[in-house]
């Protein structure tokens, strides 16, 4: 789960990591009120998951409650996208923070690194920029330290980061005291990333986290009941929410071929072959292992509720999943739902013959079958394009 900045900062505060004083506002009025409380100069910041919000007008420096009102109103009107222009996210809240003089901006992050299977900390005097870009153009400006999670952060790690990252002398002491706190937060929160960009030296010589990008490991939710509360603040697509209620893993996409499959790898592969056949998937939906007839029936209902869907491709390779139960679910769904888009079914694996026979014995004008995954993809795409197949 990628937290909003204000959520990340609230967590960092609990670990005594200095962050600017701020208030969360859901309306321009609240933003104006927050500004009155915080004093004259404040920053109004969009709270969105996508990166690059500053370039899209999501961060505004203002000097009065009236200006804060206007800035917040403007931010609430922006549709934020990722760097490739994909997605469309509105900021439901703004973070209003007291603004002050900055002497320097640094970069600091901790991640659980997949390559080394250890924690990796990065620090640099080149703050406020994309660290991947700094890594390409000026790799010497970056200090990297690997930390064994069985031992944790030692003082020498922190020194290597601060001296290796060329942090100004005035900021060293503050940085050295923040690093162990950040590491403790990383471990105790089960975070897979805490990125502070920038970490700043303020005009009065303090070191604080001006931004915070915290990612939590969803698999650790069982030992952190507060994850659920943080999740509640995140907007979820209506279709994704409904799928989740039924225990299904759905990701909404932009195309018109609805996808149902079993197993994350096979479903990803299904999106790819649909693309190769000239189509585009409307969703990712993994029914998981051992799916029942009911799960299949619910999946079909959720997919058909998306008006963009022009055809549906059900791609099942039964292992634990039984194809006869898949067929039963499809037949059940067709009986209870008013399905008006063609469904192409490909069944292989456990009880596939039985499943295929069940479908053949229950003809429906919208129900088509195919023998192979590639053949099914082509059929589903042709049908989505209105070509008979």
């Amino acid at each position: 789960m990628d937290l909003f900045e204000y959520q990340g900062k609230e967590l960092l505060r609990k670990f005594e990591i200095p962050v600017p004083e701020g208030r969360v506002a859901s309306t321009p009025e609240e933003a104006s009120e927050a500004t009155r409380f915080l004093g004259s100069r404040v920053v109004v910041k969009a709270q969105v998951a996508v990166g690059g919000r500053g370039k899209q007008g999501g961060v505004k420096l203002v000097s009065s409650p009236e200006e804060a009102h206007e800035a917040a109103a403007q931010i609430f009107d922006i549709t934020f996208t990722d760097q490739e222009g994909r997605g469309a996210e509105r900021s439901k809240r703004v973070l209003v923070e007291r603004a002050g003089e900055l002497k320097a901006e640094y970069y600091c992050s901790f991640i659980l690194d997949r390559t080394s299977r250890k924690h990796l900390a990065i620090m640099s005097s080149e703050g406020g920029m994309d660290i991947e870009e700094v890594n390409r153009t000026n790799p010497d400006a970056i200090a990297k330290v690997t930390i064994d999670p069985l031992l944790g952060l030692s003082d020498f790690h922190a020194r290597e980061l601060v001296f290796g990252g060329n942090i100004d002398e005035e900021a060293r002491k503050g940085a050295l005291s923040i690093l162990p706190k950040l590491y403790r937060a990383l471990v105790e929160l089960d975070a897979s990333q805490i990125e502070i960009n920038p970490l700043v030296l303020t005009g009065d010589g303090k070191v604080m986290a001006l931004d915070a990008k915290v990612i939590l490991d969803d698999s650790a939710a069982f030992r952190h009941p507060f994850y659920e509360e943080l999740k509640a603040a995140h907007e979820v697509n209506e279709q994704e929410r409904k799928a989740k209620e039924h225990g299904l893993n759905l990701i909404k996409l932009d195309g018109d071929v609805g996808i149902i499959g079993n197993g994350a790898g096979l479903v990803m592969s299904t999106l790819d072959v649909v693309k190769d056949a000239g189509g585009s998937a409307a969703n990712f939906l993994d029914v998981g292992g051992g799916a029942s007839a009911e799960v299949l029936s619910n999946s079909l209902q959720i997919i058909t509720e998306n008006p963009e869907v022009k055809s549906i491709f059900i791609n099942i390779f039964g292992g634990i999943t039984r194809c006869d139960l898949v067929a039963e679910g499809i037949i059940h769904a067709l009986a209870r739902l008013d399905v008006d888009v063609p469904i192409v079914v490909r069944l292989d694996g456990t009880n596939a013959e039985q499943g295929r026979k069940m479908l053949a014995d229950a003809p429906h004008p919208m129900l088509k079958t195919a023998d192979t995954m590639l053949g099914a993809a082509e059929k589903a795409v042709a049908l989505a394009h209105g070509e008979g197949a």
Binding site: V50, D82, E84, R86, G87, L112, R114, T115, R117, K118, H119, E132, D148, P149, L150, V187, D190, S192, D217, D218, S219, A220, F222, R223, N249, I251, L253, G261, N262, G263, A264, G265, L266, V267, M268, S269, L271, D272, V273, V274, K275, D276, A281, F284, D286, G289, F317, G318, G319, I320, D348, G349, T350, T372, M373, L374
Partner: protein, 293 residues
């Protein structure tokens, strides 16, 4: 030969008496795997469908000579169960459990790898391992596999099934199929399994099935270029997945410019290994390589 598991495998199942553990261990036994013990704390001394149950893995190993374990316990107990197997002297640990916290795995995997180079941890969040005709440890349906010369290693479970099926259509069997799992910190990565296939006389050719996220495929390509004499056919799922979205597997995510399909395909092509466009093409390329050999 085959790798990881074979006729000499003696399996202990942690969580045998649970419904999932019971079902799949039963299928493994029916396949011919020597299922020698189950471990359920508090149920020691009983038996489960003819298999003796012990309180601890240590006791199970001492009494039965078990050398391989399968972990079927809930996620919150998985790291503990893996360590228990390791400290009891088990050499091949197959963890099926999904949603294990990444930090738990970083600690456990780091601990085991720092101490032992003769212990293999496969998973978590994986379908297990099958050496067709010899042994099956996990949830891969045995009936779709047949003995043969192809070693298969995959981050995805259902893509193991799909690709085995495609190979079967062309009459090509497998030495061993290994599902290493879809988590960000797996116990074994591609390189661990490739090195075993390289050393296995029964394996003539390897199929490597990756997916978006992380750089395990890129590292495998660089390693294989230097160390593999056997051909590899690669396939990666998730080319069309949008960046920043976790595609079902905890590890299947493109973060910024990292973990893309293109980077993986480029790495394998640069190392001189063919990259298939889809599972069907994997089998076609394998068949082509075999007819040349």
């Amino acid at each position: 030969m085959a790798i990881l598991i074979d006729d000499s495998t003696k399996l202990v199942v942690q969580g045998l008496t649970g419904s999932e553990g019971s079902f799949h261990a039963g299928r493994n036994r029916d396949y011919g795997t020597q299922l020698v013990a189950g471990v359920t704390p508090g149920k020691g001394g009983t038996d489960h469908n003819g298999t003796p149950i012990f309180h601890t893995v240590e006791e199970a190993v001492r009494e039965t000579g078990a050398n391989t374990s399968m972990v079927f316990v809930p996620a919150r107990f998985a790291a503990d169960a893996i360590l228990e197997s390791y400290e009891s002297g088990i050499k091949t640990i197959v963890a099926i459990t999904e949603h294990v916290p990444a930090l738990d795995m970083a600690r456990v995997v780091g601990y085991i790898r720092a101490r032992s180079d003769d212990v293999s941890l496969i998973g978590p969040n994986c379908p297990g391992v099958i050496s067709p005709g010899k042994a099956n440890v996990g949830i891969i349906p045995g009936e779709i596999c047949s003995p043969g010369p192809v070693g298969l290693v995959s981050r995805s479970g259902t893509l193991v099934y799909q690709i085995v099926h495609e190979l079967t259509q062309l009459g090509i069997g497998q030495s061993t199929c290994v599902g290493i799992g879809g988590d960000p910190v797996p116990g074994s990565d591609f390189i661990d399994v490739l090195s075993k296939f390289e050393a296995d006389p029964e394996t003539e050719l390897v199929v490597l099935v990756g997916e978006i996220g992380g750089d395990a495929e890129e590292r495998a390509a660089a390693w294989a270029k230097q160390n593999m004499s056997k051909p590899i056919v690669a396939y990666f799922a998730g080319r069309e997945a949008p960046p920043g979205k976790r595609m079902g597997h905890a590890g299947a995510i493109v973060s910024g410019s990292k973990g893309t399909w293109q980077a993986k395909a480029d790495a394998f092509e640069a190392a001189g290994f063919p990259v298939a466009k889809n599972p069907t093409q994997v089998a076609e390329i394998v068949a082509g390589l075999r007819s040349k050999a």
